[in-house]
Structures are given as structure tokens and as C-alpha cells.
Amino acid sequence: MDSALIPEGVKRCPTWQFIIWIGVVGAVMMWGVFAILLVYIKGLNQTNMNNAYGFALWIWADLTVIALGGGAFFTGFLRYIIGKDELKHIINYAVLIGFICYSSALLILGFDVGQPLRAWFIFWHANVHSMLTEVAFCLTCYFGVLCIEYLPLALENRQIDKVPFFHHLSHNMHEIMAVFAATGAFLSFFHQGSLGGVPGVMFGRPFGFREGVLIWPWTFFLFTWSAAAGGPCFTILITKITEKAVRKKLVKDNVIELLAKISGWMLVGYMVAKIIDTWYWAAFTAPSKGFTLMDFYANNPGSVYGIWILIAEIGVCGVLPALILITDKGRKNRIALFLAVLLAVLGVCLNRWVMVLQVLAVPVLTFENWAQYLPSWQEIATTILPVAYGIIMISLSYRYLPVFPQERELNPIEAPVSQTQEQLPEPETPPAGAEPEPSPSGS
């Protein structure tokens, strides 16, 4: 039925199967849309945020998807600026994932604010001293860059490509992509960093506050760094999950391994920086404000915020995956590689969680208690929405666009186009294939 839209030389599942798949994921998305409507109509009282938890699940999701979407800018940076040519085989997917992540981030910001109708004041009445202003500008601009980067791919759809103008446009955009990629890297550096600056500049919140250079606290650089390290890991993770889901190899191992190796070394660097930062913070910054490290990790209700967080973030989800990724053996071992990128991604998620929620949970006034928070179903639904949206975007792109340049080579087909073969998973497999923890948009 839609065979005319499907790229030549690849196999895709039957239309009916595809429709069911999209329908199921779409239903989840509609649940999120319903929650958004509730939030818009009734206000933020639909959430479990409060005056102590002004930032909560949404802001975490925001920071996280942006960090994980960092694969797009960093892969682009490696491909176009550094000249790692092999990465052209995965850059499309990296861009797509980045696009999903950033559009999700903007969407979340769109309902997270109390007055969405005048959220554009952030641009109009910009306060350039605010990290959030920097975030907003860079984020929006970079989303523009991602659109520009994604557009040529979309134009390569078999039918669109037939239109000469679009064909030429796509070609020309490819030609100067390095310029856009460079701009994207520049913008990303700043907004990833600014997001790190969000907790880092809050000198009223000793858990988040860091010293730094000029106007930028150390968290600024740590966030950029961790996004550059964790983003490509997320790209690899999603690629691997996609390969599992469609049951074929889409990207050659050498490409993955190259990206994994670079990520690994980035992660090593990040970990060194993070450990120094943590040590300095625990030994000097916090005590100067009257806090010991354990003040931040002890005596909270249910011991939710225990020292295990720090161990998990730095050890299990930091040093461990870094070590796996920098060793040849580790990268070559499928399971180890998968585990490593998964842990690295979890590490980034955990870091963002801590830097958003724990910052607010730690009591600062001596006569206040730890703030407690559990998200409402509306918050959860709206946070799952981007996941569903990402799955749909990936499914559509994969079906109709030549996302993986190596797919044809890796999966040669004998018969011209055999639509009967199933490429999307069996009905029982889709949830297993696409749903595990970090899903495409990275909740």
C-alpha cells in the first residue's frame, strides 16, 4: 500500500502490521496528550510539584533528553569537524535521535511553565545573566540546526526526492552540512553547559552550587562533557535496540566501535573531572557553607537520597562503562558493549536527576526538612509521551527514509521487494524491543 514511499532495496513489514504498531504506540502518546490538556486547562496543580520542588520530573526529563540528544552534536562534530568519516553511517540516526530529543525537550518546556502563553517572554525580555535564557536561546537555535540537519534526510524519501527542487535542496544542504554542524556544536556546547549552570549558579543551594571560571560554574563544563560522552552512548544504545527490534544489522561494527571508543575516552575524561569536582566540592565548597558531604546523603526520609547515588553515578555508571568502552575487548563483546552504553546512559540520567531533584530536596534552612516528591500520573504520562513520540518518529523515519546507509549492503535482498517478510517485530516483541529503560527519546 505504501510501498511507493519505502526506500528502494530494503524490506519493511506489511502495512497493516505497521499501522497496528503505530496505533499501539500512538495510544500511549494520546494518554500523554490528554495529560497535557489537563495541565493546560487546569494548571500545574495537576502535578505533584510544590513550592519546594519547583523543578521536578519534567525538568529532569528535559535535562536528560537534551544530554542524551547530545549524540547528535557530538557525532556531527566528530564527523564534520574532526573528520571521522566512518561516522557518516550513523550520523543520520544520531541526528534523528537528537531531533526527537530536542523536540521533546521543547515540548516539555512548553507545558512545564506556568504561563505557556507567554513563555516567549524568555526571548523577548531576555535576561542574559540567566542560565535558563542561555539554554532557551541555544536550545531553540540548535533545534533549528537539527531541523536543518534532518531535512535533507527527509527530502531523500523516494517520492520527495523525485521533485527536482527538493532533490537539489537536499544535495546542497549536504554539501555545506559542516557549517551547520559547526554551528550546532557551538550552540550545543553552550546550552548543554548552561543546563549544567542551572544548578551550578544557585549559590543558595549548596548541593548544586559550584565554583567555576568567569560566569560558568564547573557544572557547566561537566554537563557539556557528560553530554558529549553519554549522547553517543545513547545513539549506540538506540541503534542496538533498533537492530534488535527489526532483527537485522543496520550499522557496521567498526562504526559502532569507533563511536564507542571515542565515547569511552570522553567518559574517562569526564569521570576524572567529575571525581575531582566531587572531591573539591565535598572537601571545600560544601564545608565553606557549613555542610559535610554526608549532610547531603543522610537522614532523609526513607533514605531515598543515600550515598549509594554517588557510588552508582560515579562508579557503576561512570568508571565501569568507561573502562569497558576504552578496552578493545569490551567494545567487541556485544553484551559488554550494550551494558556499557546502557550504564553510561543511566549514569547521565542519574546525574541529571541528582542535579535537579536532590538539589531541591536537601534542606538548606536548618529548621526545614527534606522535601519529598512523587510524580503525579499526569507528570508520568507527559514524560512517557516523548518516548512514544520518539518511537513513532523512529518507526516512520526508518520505514520511509534511508536512515541507515549501510542497511542495503548489510541486508541484501534477492527478490526485488518482498513485503511479506516481517521486519518489524512480532506482535509480542515490540514492547520488548522498543520499551526497555532508555527509549528513543530517553526518558
Partner: protein, 52 residues
């Protein structure tokens, strides 16, 4: 965002920030414009297809 919104101050912070911003925006705008115009020209010339 623009010099006529009243928070605007001609100080270092504003110039650096908005300088960077408009620089990035210009590159994106110019790049995109270039691509579109070139695509239009190419189309008019009836250039053949290429494959990536």
C-alpha cells in the same frame, strides 16, 4: 532580544550574549538561504541527479 526591549543594556554581557546569538542565527539563515537559492538555480538549470 532586540535593542528596543527595555531591558536592553549596551553592556558587555549583552553584547557577548546577543553577539553570539545573532552570529549563530545569521550563519543558519545565510546557509539555509544559500541552499534554497542554489537549489532553485540548479532546478532551473535542469541539472541531473546525483546520489549520495
Amino acid at each position: 532580544m532586540f535593542p528596543f526591549s527595555f531591558e536592553w543594556i549596551w553592556d558587555m554581557g549583552h553584547m557577548v550574549f546577543h553577539g553570539g546569538l545573532w552570529y549563530a542565527l545569521s550563519i543558519m539563515g545565510l546557509g539555509l538561504t544559500y541552499c534554497i537559492i542554489k537549489a532553485a538555480v540548479d532546478t532551473a538549470k535542469g541539472k541531473g541527479g546525483y546520489h549520495h
